[in-house]
Structures are given as structure tokens and as C-alpha cells.
């Protein structure tokens, strides 16, 4: 279908964009890459009065990497992440997951800010953001605020963003060398949204026991989330086949997927267990320097 009618503005500065979003007539929506908003409009799931195109805004398209971590402007596109070799060590989970995000043409336009605001429960970046304790920076004419990714997503396609607010950036804490991590997902067609996926990481203490374990899942709930019950099975333990099995079992039990067109709830729950098990095994293999990280076709090249 064709999109419904709307007005269009392409402001040149952030203050102008924020003023348009705060307009008393209301019902204005930011337009970034359009790779989610255009389908939403085509299906007539939204009919905003005004689209505020972010394309002319300057300085929001940079990836910065320093000792404090990684900062990505809201207009950073998937292709920018895909081509940034620094992320392989600065944010390895994102570097690994990016090969699963949408298709070639969509990666040329889709953005970080749009993905966070759209909040698809199966989208990779929101999952990585929650799993890696990221912070989302938000601006409006009322000022700016920062929200932890864990508090940002409220449900499917729902976030704490107010209609007059714009995401300006996302920041990730520094990633120490030697941290174990892995990302796994299953999708029907490469590049389509995942049926389920997981991002896992942990540190090892001097005795070789896991600490700081983070297990995030996508597609397994109405929002990306961490599975505390599964993490608890690993913290303080030696990571081996047995503890991994227990964590995977706890993960499957802790998620609450819904039945939908693509898979039943039971299938998804089982899938989460399988993916968590695979990811933990691969993360563990990485700590042993055995170089068994699987490079399936489709992961970043």
C-alpha cells in the first residue's frame, strides 16, 4: 500500500528538529533511514501529521572509540558499523551481530537511533544494548537525559521515549581485552528478523570462575532482556559443559515468548536454550584461545 498523507520537513539543525517535534499540534515523527517507518506507514499502522527528516542534521553519524567505551551517534548506519574494524575489539558482540541485521540495501540506510526507537523485540542492536549495559542519550526542547538500555524498552514497539524526544546517541562501557563473548541467532531467511537470538559474555576471575555473566535474549519476549536466572547458574562457577547445560535450561525456562506466525512459543523457548548453549560454548572456546570461533557465512566479512 501507499503511505497515508503527511507533511514533511528536513530541518538543518538539532534545535530546529526538536522544535518541530515539540510543536503544539503534536503528532510529528522523526524519519531516519525509513527502513521501519516506511513499512509502518505502508501498512497504515501509523499516520503522523508531520515527518521530521533527520537527513540534514550534522555530527550524529560518527562512531567514537576511546578508553571510556564506544559512542555511536543516532544516525550511524548499519553499513558504518559493518565497516568499522575497531568494533571487533571495542564492541565484539555488535561486530558479530551486525552480519545478521537486515539485508544489504537496508543496511545502507537503517540507523542505530531508528532501530532503538522502533524497538522490535527481535532486533539485534536493542538486544546488544541491553546485554552490554549501554546508555541511550535523549534530547528534547525540555533538555537532555540518559536512560539505561535496561529501562528503555517497555514492550513490543514501545519505549520510554516521549513524542517530543529524539535519540541522539548510544554509549557502551569499555570492553576489556580477554572478556569472553558470543552472539547466536536463528532466522528463517538470512537478514530477516530473528526467531530468537542471544548475546552472552562473562569475565573469569583468577581461579577461572565466571563473574559478571550477562545473558541477553531477543525474540523471546516482548522486549530485549537479560535472563538473571540463567546468569545465576554461571556466576562463581567454572564454565564447563555441565554449568553451560544448566544455564541453557534456566534460560529456556526464564523466557516468555508468544506464539506467532513464524514459530510457536514452545519452539522459541526451546530455541533460546539451544542458542544460549551454543553461545556459551563458543564464548568458552574463545577464552582457551583454541580459535574455534565459528565463522559461518553471513557473519561480518
Amino acid at each position: 500500500m501507499k503511505p497515508p498523507q503527511f507533511e514533511y520537513a528536513a530541518p538543518a539543525t538539532l534545535p530546529e528538529a526538536l522544535a518541530l517535534l515539540a510543536h503544539p499540534d503534536g503528532d510529528a515523527k522523526p524519519l531516519a533511514g525509513g527502513q521501519s517507518l516506511m513499512p509502518v506507514l505502508a501498512f497504515r499502522l501509523a499516520s503522523p501529521r508531520l515527518l521530521v527528516d533527520l537527513r540534514l542534521l550534522q555530527g550524529m553519524d560518527r562512531i567514537e572509540v576511546d578508553a571510556s567505551g564506544v559512542r555511536m551517534g543516532a544516525k550511524v548506519r548499519w553499513r558504518d558499523i559493518e565497516r568499522d574494524a575497531r568494533l571487533k575489539t571495542a564492541l565484539p558482540l555488535m561486530a558479530e551481530a551486525i552480519g545478521h541485521v537486515a539485508h544489504y540495501q537496508i543496511r545502507n540506510r537503517g540507523t542505530v537511533g531508528g532501530s532503538l526507537a522502533h524497538a522490535d523485540p527481535a532486533a539485534e542492536l536493542p538486544g546488544i544494548a541491553v546485554a552490554c549495559d549501554a546508555t541511550i542519550e535523549i534530547a528534547s526542547t525540555r533538555g537532555s537525559r540518559s536512560v539505561a538500555a535496561a529501562d528503555f524498552f517497555e514492550g513490543a514497539l514501545t519505549t520510554v521515549l516521549q513524542p517530543d524526544e529524539l535519540i541522539t546517541a548510544i554509549t557502551f562501557p569499555a570492553w576489556p581485552a580477554g572478556r569472553a563473548s558470543a552472539f547466536e541467532e536463528l532466522a528463517r531467511r538470512h537478514g530477516d528478523f530473528a526467531m530468537a537470538g542471544t548475546a552472552v559474555w562473562f569475565d573469569l576471575d583468577t581461579a577461572g570462575r565466571a563473574m559478571n555473566t550477562h545473558i541477553g535474549v531477543i525474540g523471546a519476549s516482548d522486549r530485549p532482556r537479560r535472563l538473571a536466572a540463567a546468569e545465576a547458574k554461571l556466576d562463581g562457577q567454572v564454565i564447563d559443559a555441565q554449568s553451560i547445560g544448566e544455564a541453557a535450561c534456566a534460560a529456556a525456562g526464564a523466557c516468555d515468548p508468544a506464539d506467532d506466525l513464524h514459530a510457536s512459543a514452545a519452539y522459541r523457548r526451546n530455541l533460546v536454550g539451544v542458542l544460549v548453549e551454543r553461545a556459551l560454548a563458543r564464548a568458552l572456546a574463545g577464552t582457551k584461545g583454541s580459535g574455534t570461533a565459528i565463522n559461518r557465512s553471513g557473519e561480518s566479512h
Binding site: P3, P4, Y8, M38, Y104
Partner: protein, 167 residues
């Protein structure tokens, strides 16, 4: 609203509603009907065009968003009536049957090989995973793109006979 951009090297100026997608603007306003519209929500890839060197879905792009940019459609690939090397490879390999998906396959592959003339078969398959074909079964398309690499400065292919070798 008035929008100005370049299509296949020619400057154009046309009047559109804000909601007019680039695909409709190309087809209806500019009568460039080579760009096909399948799903109109970003899934099939038939509508792919190249904007400033990057392959994008024209059904997910508004015409007003390409103000001042330079667009290549499937009509811009051939030199007059002479097929481009990529198009000729598609023909040689029987990489099209009904032809509905072909404009999107060609523009996507052209953008890819221009950027990455050495793209591997896996890379080509990954990139084309965003384009649906209901006829060919994809194998001849991948073979045609592999074969066309040489024309972009990539490796010469040994799969010159086509006709679904490897099927």
C-alpha cells in the same frame, strides 16, 4: 513539493507529494518503469536502485529524501542498446525467467561489484539474500554475478558456460 535530482546522469525536476515513494516517482512521474514494485514494504528487493553509489530500496525511500542526489536505475546500466557486461552475463546464464526480480538483482549486483569486484560466492549470496526470485532458484543468478566480476576488475570466472552449472 518540488524535488530535483539526477537520474542516470540527467538532471530532473518533478512535483511530488511528500508521501510519494522514490519507486513511484521514478515509475509514474519519470516513466522509468524498469524499476519494479513488488511488495512495497521492503521485503522483496525488486525496487532496488542505486543512490550515490549505494543500493537502496526505492519503496522505503521518499522522493523528497533524494533531493540533490544521483540515482542509477536499471535503465542506466546499459550503454544504449548494448547490454552491460553484467546484463550480458545474466542472459548467458539464463539468470532470468519472468524478469520481475531482474531490475533489483541487476542494480544490487552492480552496486556490489562496483564496490567489491572480488566478492566471493558466499558474499554474493549474502547480498542477494535481500532479493526474492520466484522463478530461477537463484543458482544461475549467482553464477552470472560471479562471471561478471571480471568486467569490474575482479577475478576471471571459469563458470562461463552457465546454464545452471552446479545445479
Amino acid at each position: 513539493m518540488e524535488v530535483s535530482f539526477k537520474v542516470n546522469g540527467h538532471a530532473v525536476k518533478t512535483e511530488v507529494e511528500p508521501r510519494t515513494t522514490l519507486s513511484l516517482c521514478l515509475r509514474d512521474n519519470l516513466k522509468l518503469t524498469g524499476t519494479h514494485v513488488g511488495c512495497e514494504h521492503g521485503v522483496c528487493g525488486a525496487c532496488t536502485v542505486i543512490v550515490d553509489g549505494e543500493a537502496v530500496r526505492s519503496c522505503l525511500t521518499l522522493a523528497v529524501q533524494v533531493e540533490g542526489r544521483s540515482i542509477t536505475t536499471v535503465e542506466g546500466l546499459a550503454d544504449g542498446d548494448a547490454l552491460s557486461p553484467l546484463q550480458a552475463a545474466f542472459r548467458r546464464h539464463n539468470a532470468l525467467q519472468c524478469g520481475f526480480c531482474t531490475p533489483g538483482m541487476l542494480t544490487t549486483a552492480h552496486a556490489l561489484l562496483t564496490d567489491e569486484p572480488h566478492a566471493s560466492a558466499d558474499r554474493i549470496r549474502e547480498v542477494l539474500s535481500g532479493n526474492l526470485c520466484r522463478c530461477t532458484g537463484y543458482l544461475p543468478i549467482v553464477e552470472a554475478v560471479l562471471d561478471a566480476r571480471a568486467a569490474y576488475g575482479g577475478p576471471a570466472s571459469d563458470a562461463t558456460t552457465g546454464h545452471g552449472a552446479g545445479r
